[in-house]
């Protein structure tokens, strides 16, 4: 039931997005925003079927996605002429901070539970921080970034590295397979961040980078839906 429902909603939203791309920018933005909620629902589903130490963390990530979705809906509302930028930014930041906290908690709680070798989490977090800082610095060399943009980009890189290392360490097992879906979603999400870094989108005019960002983000959410469907 779940995989079919997820697939149907994904297809409907994708069609809405396509229609919006051709006909109405607000519809496109609305469809893209709703994809976040679909992703949140998928992550929530993954969480309920996951081992205990991952449940809280994945639920937190789902909540983070809800916040990003709210932010995107506020953006859409903004396209319709309302000033939502201040609130939107706050919601985005809250979502990203939640992502950071939950992503960091995952290896910590896994190690505390005795599932990882002692010291593994320390190494994972250190490498992820270093990698996140390095990649953000590289992005900054391409284009100057505001502190908030740096937070977004850094968080995307940091989280991708955290999940990537864990899914590698757990390759071949059920948890590893679950994490892999999240890793792919994060990789796509990070690529989406890179695209926004490379080009400054100038709304409300539709720029190609917005289309690429949307496509990557929609793919990321679809991967989560696919992951959730595979599990149930």
């Amino acid at each position: 039931m779940m995989p079919v429902a997820g697939l149907v909603v994904t297809v409907l939203l994708a069609l809405a997005w396509l229609a919006g791309l051709v006909l109405d920018n607000t519809l496109r933005s609305l469809a893209e925003g709703l994809f976040n909620f679909l992703g949140a629902w998928a992550v929530w589903n993954i969480a309920t079927h996951s081992p205990r130490p991952m449940q809280r963390v994945l639920s937190g990530l789902a909540l983070g996605l809800v916040l990003l979705g709210v932010g995107d809906l506020l953006y859409t509302w903004g396209l319709a002429g309302h000033d939502t930028s201040a609130l939107r930014e706050a919601v985005y930041i809250a979502g990203v901070l939640l992502f950071l906290v939950m992503g960091t908690l995952l290896p910590i709680s896994m190690e505390r539970q005795g599932l990882y070798r002692e010291g593994f989490t320390g190494r994972v977090l250190l490498l992820s921080v270093l990698g996140g800082v390095l990649l953000t610095a590289l992005s900054r060399m391409i284009r100057p970034l505001s502190p908030v943009e740096m937070l977004y980009a850094g968080a995307a890189f940091y989280l991708t590295l955290i999940f990537l290392q864990q899914s590698q360490a757990l390759a071949g097992g059920r948890i590893g397979r679950t994490l892999q879906g999240v890793v792919w979603a994060l990789v796509l999400g990070s690529l989406a961040r890179i695209v926004t870094v490379l080009v400054v989108a100038t709304p409300p005019t539709l720029h190609w980078s917005v289309v690429v960002y949307d496509l990557l983000w929609i793919s990321a959410m679809s991967v989560l839906v696919w992951s959730a469907g595979r599990r149930s």
């Binding site: 996951s50 081992p51 205990r52 130490p53 539970q113 005795g114 599932l115 990882y116 070798r117 002692e118 593994f120 590698q168 360490a169 757990l170 390759a171 071949g172 097992g173 059920r174 948890i175 590893g176």
Partner: protein, 279 residues
Amino acid sequence: MGDTGRGLLGLLSPTLLGQLLRELPRGETLAENVQGGLLTPEFVQRLRGEGFSGYALAQLKANLAWLAFYKGRLLEAWRQTDQGSSHGVAAYQATQGELAGGTLSLYRLSPEAIPPILALTGGILRAAALPAGSVVAADLFASLGQEGFTGALVLEDGSSGQGWYFSRGQVLFGAEIPGGFGAGRLHMAHTSAEAPPDLFTVLEQQEQQRQQERLEALWGAAQAVLREYMGRGAVPALERLRRTHTAQDPGTLGPSLRRWLETSLEPNAALMFDRLVKG
């Protein structure tokens, strides 16, 4: 049982052997026809501790069971069954299992008297089915005395029989040398030079081995569950698990591993563990 033989087990019917054991001298009677439940593990430990030598006769419904103690060690157990008889650890375990419903008698003998009796079920066969009529009893006893024979001599005459026990050539229990044997067949077994193993020790070793096997089965199941969930990460997780779960008793380790899998992974992991442990 090492180099020890099977004595006269293959020659005497369980009924006749039972009769011979019943007719063993009583020595000092410690208990007679008491409730079989008396032979609790604690009581057995006391017999071991005080270096008891003697034997126990247990009447289990229609069947007889016999336990031989030598200086606190349980060197033989023999038991009539509906199909025949059994001896050794299997006989002791079966007897223990049924004792509660039977009666028990316990007799103390001098330690020297035990090895010759043990020849009945664990000795080395010396002579089988000699026509008794052709043997001169006095000559046989004299020659056994001369060589310092230790073991058992049994005259089997149809369904009944008689036993003589020798220790270093001496006839034990004040038995008289018969004038002649008459009809029947004579069987002889001498006591093995190598003492049979203590059945208590054998049982303890078996129990230890069983525990070890159960522990290994538990860890094997835990490893399989971890591999299913953790893939490559199962090895370090198992290492930590082994460090935190050091119980050597399967009855404690099993539930605690199960609980860990349930809380650290998920209820399905515990179910998988159950399935694997059951095999």
